[in-house]
Subunit: 469 residues, 2 copies
């Protein structure tokens, strides 16, 4: 894989791409490219050669064919919401922005699916289906700007994954474009499909390695009619974790269950400069439980059952939010952890392991020990019920001990998670940042198979080079 | 791909396999092989050379390596419950029975998964997890003898797939063995996993083409506490289909919804020789709706809502079964359709399309027209809510018009289903019987990719040759 090595070759390729997309959508001005050289991944920035904004899958097919012939790296880009560098043009070449493929094509209420172009914003899709009484439950935190195609490419999760799973569960069909320009649908718009190897799910989570996802078909659910949010605090992290296990073993299925560890709590309280319930120093953890149901009776029953269970593990008050403003207030701390970490000239690095629920307490305690020994601040919080915790290492910018030290700490934490049954990423993907850690999790056989599968789809290796494998 | 061409070569291979599995588990006597040359697929039978019954994945690895070196076809076999010939040794060689890998290894109640060897019988796994208050919702009709590994290989569905999806949704990790003898786990025992290409789901539904699945890890659900079954009849098939659509649009999620068309009803009534409610000639369809819930209140609400909706589409009585014997009686007709079709020197062929719900009425009417024109009897029934209908063409043995005529009718029905958004198989897989119809559903690009992916896993083409692709 090479980038565009000479000016003459660059001009030639630009000319060809312009015949496909039109001059206004083949962009090379340094200033215009700037925003597309970075995404939500730390402060990383990679300059590159050409930005293309094709109108549809046909144009994408033609421009991929050109790049394939000239062996030019192509980095597909959705909303740029990724945090592992999946959309960064690390080997220069072409960034293919899907922002013009932004139409919701069909919402089928009888067959209960939605067909959308890959560049539709998640939030818009959610709202459009909710207007029809339907529900797409996997909207990541970045829903206000993430694209549905990117969600599929990353197998994105959401706060609600503990009840509803990740994006993979909802994808029934994808329109994809291969580097050789072939355009086809991988599946069908039906609920069950036992025909051939599952190419649909091979594209889910493929992070742009195989081709470009141009249209998605998601199965939908009926919209839950009512929901409630509960918040309580614990003097002891172990008790918070035990409470979560008790809720799971009760047979209830909360829509969300978020744990906020002590340092995340303290950091965010300081950032918000406002008093919130249950944020005294003695409080070692918050637990937020969201319940939803098809009717008020069921919701009341579940709320009461959860309250009783929580009461066995904490003496603190249990706050219940039913109205939107009440819920907003209870979410306030959780929603602002990211802002707190980004403030005041701080640097942070996000670890997105998914581990077994039974290991959560030992994981958090172990990570805190590692970080204490290594002189790194750490804030743990996240989707506790499905074991997908976000572990944020953070520093004041001035005191960042350097990438090597960071990598060593990360390595130790990943080893600890993996040797206890965990994986490197629950929902953020591997992208550019986590690539070097894949051999910690996967045996050589798996990595070889993944590489060879990529080669089947992308023999010239132009698709998102430098990522995942 | 060749079979074992000479006696000397055969003896040599037998000797090698015996050093791996022991003499008692390498079987060549014609009588002992007989039962393994057929499965539940019509009356097909294929003789073959060697039956092996390895003890574990290590033995499987060693014997696959031998077969790979000698380029001997290997047909993996679970419970032999398949109906599309996936386990038939159509190119002779070795049948690898997984019947000795029959242990449930762990049921983890906190992390809510079960680890089982591939040869565990589905029903045994279901009962073992239910004893712990958990639920594995994808037990196919053949649950009494199908193996869990086979369910994964076929991406099996169940009566409950309209609410709970198919096997794919529950598989989080697989231990697999490649033809080169490599043994590894494809995933991890966690709820969310966004790491690398999804090899786990590539093995789900792979029908033995890629390697042997030796251990499975299924995520589990809390067990629903209560359920009820409703049965009613309709004078008009169109009204039955409208009723199903109304139930879906109500936002309720029945656990099962089975439609029985007029001829299936008449055939089974005659077979059972007993009087059942709503089987008068004027009744054109039965609808069975099973509801389940976490508590009685919710169940009562759903039952009432469904009864009201049904009442808008039929004047017939709505039977409600709550106790086991009541439910058994309501299921009686549905459970005996297969027996009725197999009786009295009849031949039948099973079509397993999955189509959009909105197309069900037009599909059944269209198929009835095709069959009438072609002089073939047809019985339609099945999982109507998820569009996975079983369409049984049947004949008295003496009057079977021959395979060519059958294939022509099948071709026309598949064309009709596919051109309206359907797929060839919702839950039975492609196997040996449906292979020739794959090009009707898939574009050349998809078929080429599937073949090349198979070659990545199985370069010598020894794994289940003659199937799917």
């Amino acid at each position: 894989m090479t980038s565009i090595q000479s000016d003459a070759r660059l001009q030639q390729v630009i000319g060809l791409l312009e015949t496909v997309c039109g001059c206004s959508y083949v962009i090379t001005g340094e200033e215009d490219l700037r925003a597309y050289g970075s995404d939500e991944t730390q402060d990383l920035y990679f300059p590159f050669d050409i930005l293309v904004k094709p109108a549809d899958e046909k144009e994408i097919g033609e421009l991929l064919r050109i790049c394939n012939r000239y062996r030019i790296p192509v980095t597909p880009r959705g909303g740029g919401s990724g945090v592992t560098g999946g959309a960064l043009p690390v080997q220069k070449g072409v960034v293919l922005s899907t922002e013009r493929l932004n139409k919701i094509i069909t919402i089928n209420e009888t067959d209960r699916y939605v067909i959308a172009e890959c560049g539709v914003i998640t939030q818009e899709l959610c709202e459009a289906v909710e207007e029809k009484g339907l529900f797409f439950p996997v909207a990541p935190t970045s829903r206000a700007f993430s694209f549905v195609g990117g969600n599929v490419a990353e197998n994105a999760g959401s706060m609600y994954s503990c009840k509803y799973g990740t994006t993979s569960r909802y994808v029934i069909n994808l329109q994809v474009v291969l580097p050789n320009g072939e355009i086809f649908w991988t599946g069908a718009n039906v609920e069950k499909n036992a025909t051939g190897l599952d190419l649909t799910r091979l594209f889910v989570g493929s992070e742009g390695l195989l081709g470009v996802i141009t249209k998605v078909v998601f199965r939908l659910l009926p919209k839950p009619r009512v929901s409630a949010l509960m918040l309580t605090g614990f003097d002891d992290l172990a008790m918070a974790c035990e409470a979560v296990i008790a809720i799971r073993r009760s047979g209830l299925s909360p829509a969300a269950a978020e744990l906020i560890g002590h340092s995340a709590l303290q950091l965010t309280r300081a950032y918000l400069k406002e008093s919130f319930p249950l944020t005294a120093d003695r409080i070692k953890a918050h637990l937020l439980i969201e319940l939803n149901a098809a009717d008020e009776n069921r919701l009341a029953f579940e709320t009461e059952t959860v309250a009783q269970l929580l009461g066995e593990y904490t003496q603190d008050e249990i706050f219940l939010g039913s109205s939107s403003p009440e819920k907003e207030r209870l979410w306030m701390i959780r929603r602002n952890i990211g802002n707190a970490l980004k403030s005041e000239n701080r640097l942070y690095r996000d670890i997105d392991v998914c581990i077994p629920l039974s290991f959560v307490y030992r994981y958090i305690s172990g990570v805190e020990e590692i970080c204490k020994r290594e002189g790194v601040a750490v804030a743990c919080f996240g989707h506790v019920l499905d074991g997908n915790l976000h572990t944020m290492l953070h520093w004041e910018k001035a005191s960042f001990p350097g990438e090597d030290h960071f990598a060593a700490v990360l390595h130790e934490i990943y080893d600890f998670a993996i040797s206890n049954g965990g994986v490197i990423s629950g929902e953020h993907g591997i992208g550019y940042l986590q690539k070097e850690f894949m051999p910690l999790q996967f045996p050589a056989s798996s990595l070889r198979l993944m590489k060879e599968i990529k080669t089947v789809f992308d023999p010239e290796g132009i698709m998102n080079p430098g990522k995942v494998l």
